[in-house]
């Protein structure tokens, strides 16, 4: 009983802070995901369609894009975060707070998203691409009416993976004053040694991740017509 009354008091005391931090985490993550997909989808399509035997084979372009994506993905986020501080300041005017965090998060997420899109698109059977070509479809039509529509459930699953990955990044950004639940955990849980706050933020993060994963799976299963009976 004492545990619950303590927990209640704690939640009551930090209610505002917890709510704001959760909101900030969602804000940072969802906006970064959105922008990263706007940039990453065309990039992923580009990589897939220039691959050998695809709709617009172009080896040099394919290799070059693939390299760039790999380079982007190999830089640890915490380093990218610091390295991009001047860029962030230029774009947002500050390096502190949730909005500033969106810059490095988005830049880190674009190559990740491009790879996720690539993964989803290459799953589409080559026979379908050949079918599209045989029917006289343009490359553009094959991309939109064959590749993207057939891989939509897979792309949706990829989106939830990306969001969850970015929630992890947002916690790192919290370490340098980026706001969000990570920031709260570092400031109160670590610097002030308030383990209970740390625990509460962890539970909140687990809940957020769980909801996003389950939501993504539910939407993907709902729209996937490959196993309709």
């Amino acid at each position: 009983m004492e545990f619950f009354s303590n927990l209640f008091n704690l939640l009551n005391e930090f209610k505002g802070l917890l709510l704001v931090s959760t909101w900030q985490t969602l804000y940072i993550t969802l906006i970064s995901t959105l922008i990263a997909y706007l940039l990453g989808i065309p990039l992923g399509i580009w990589v897939v369609s220039t691959a050998p035997n695809s709709i617009a084979p172009n080896r040099p372009v394919h290799e070059f894009m693939s390299r760039i994506i790999n380079i982007g993905r190999s830089i640890p986020f915490i380093i990218l975060l610091v390295a991009l501080l001047p860029v962030t300041r230029m774009l947002v005017g500050t390096t502190i707070g949730p909005t500033a965090t969106i810059v490095p998060m988005t830049i880190a997420a674009v190559p990740f998203v491009a790879r996720m899109i690539e993964q989803s698109l290459v799953e589409v059977d080559n026979g379908l691409i050949e079918m599209g070509q045989a029917m006289g479809a343009t490359s553009f039509q094959i991309i939109f009416k064959v590749l993207l529509t057939e891989s939509l459930p897979s792309i949706i699953r990829g989106i939830s993976i990306t969001i969850i990955n970015l929630i992890g990044y947002s916690a790192m950004a919290g370490a340098v004053g980026g706001g969000g639940l990570g920031d709260l955990a570092i400031r109160y849980g670590y610097h002030r040694r308030q383990t209970d706050i740390m625990m509460v933020t962890i539970v909140l993060l687990i809940l957020v991740v769980e909801v996003i994963q389950m939501g993504g799976n539910a939407i993907a299963s709902k729209i996937d017509k490959r196993n309709v009976h």
Partner: protein
């Protein structure tokens, strides 16, 4: 798979069988007709119009310019040639009617025309009750019938069939062959069919070409080729194609 020294002449409204063992190059050959494969050298004419011409060392004396349909011209040609595949290649996330509408949609046909043609074709392939179903809800034979309806959507003059029944049981195979026969009779569509089974050729083809190891070894009217098989491979295919497949 490379083919050499191939010369076929297919007349309008033929049901032309191309038969050979696995790996003989049949699929490569049929894909040359809609230029999914580009020949190294040779000439392809459809309805008297050249769609491909490139002369290598075999045609030294020819002075005609090289030609290779591309871009919009190539897509227009392909829209006039239907194709069905061994694996039906249906869009699994689209309904039966959306699948049949696909070739018309990409050709930019108006909505009411698409709807009209789709319901007509659904009747032809006897799937009117499956209009809103997804391919995953259909049997193998039904899927292949959808893909036949799709191939006919733009009312092509030529229908290419790449091993259309290889994945189906014999009863379903006969239904598909009867459907192809009906399409040939009713819509006057020229059919080119690749197969490794002589029974299929016997059932619906009026002409046949036999391919063996990269060459066409026998060709002509069905009766002529099958009654007087001049080549060993034709005899082998005749004496038991099912046996030789193992």
């Amino acid at each position: 798979m490379a083919l050499e020294d191939v010369s076929l002449h297919i007349e309008p409204e033929d049901i032309y069988g191309i038969i050979g063992m696995s790996g003989a190059g049949k699929s490569t050959l049929i894909r040359c007709i809609n230029l999914l494969e580009k020949p190294v050298a040779g000439e392809i004419l459809i309805d008297g119009n050249c769609i491909f011409r490139k002369f290598g060392k075999f045609f030294e004396n020819n002075n005609e310019p090289e030609l290779m349909l591309q871009g919009a011209e190539l897509r227009n040609l392909r829209r006039q040639i239907g194709m069905i595949f061994q694996s039906h290649n249906l869009l699994m996330q689209k309904t039966v009617s959306q699948n049949i509408a696909f070739p018309m949609e990409i050709a930019g046909a108006p909505k009411h025309e698409i709807d009209k043609r789709v319901s007509e074709l659904l009747e032809v392939v006897n799937l009117a009750d499956k209009v809103a179903n997804y391919p995953s809800q259909l049997s193998g034979g039904q899927r292949q019938r959808v893909s036949i309806a799709r191939a006919m959507a733009n009312m092509p003059k030529i229908l290419l069939c790449d091993e259309p029944t290889s994945a189906l049981d014999s009863l379903t195979t006969n239904q598909i062959l009867d459907l192809l026969w009906d399409l040939n009779q009713d819509y006057k569509v020229t059919i080119v069919m690749i197969t490794h089974e002589i029974e299929l050729v016997k059932r619906i083809c009026n002409k046949v070409a036999v391919i063996d190891r990269t060459r066409v070894v026998d060709q002509g009217e069905i009766g002529q080729v099958l009654l007087n098989p001049s080549m060993e491979i034709t005899k082998q295919l005749l004496s038991g194609s099912r046996g030789t497949r193992g």
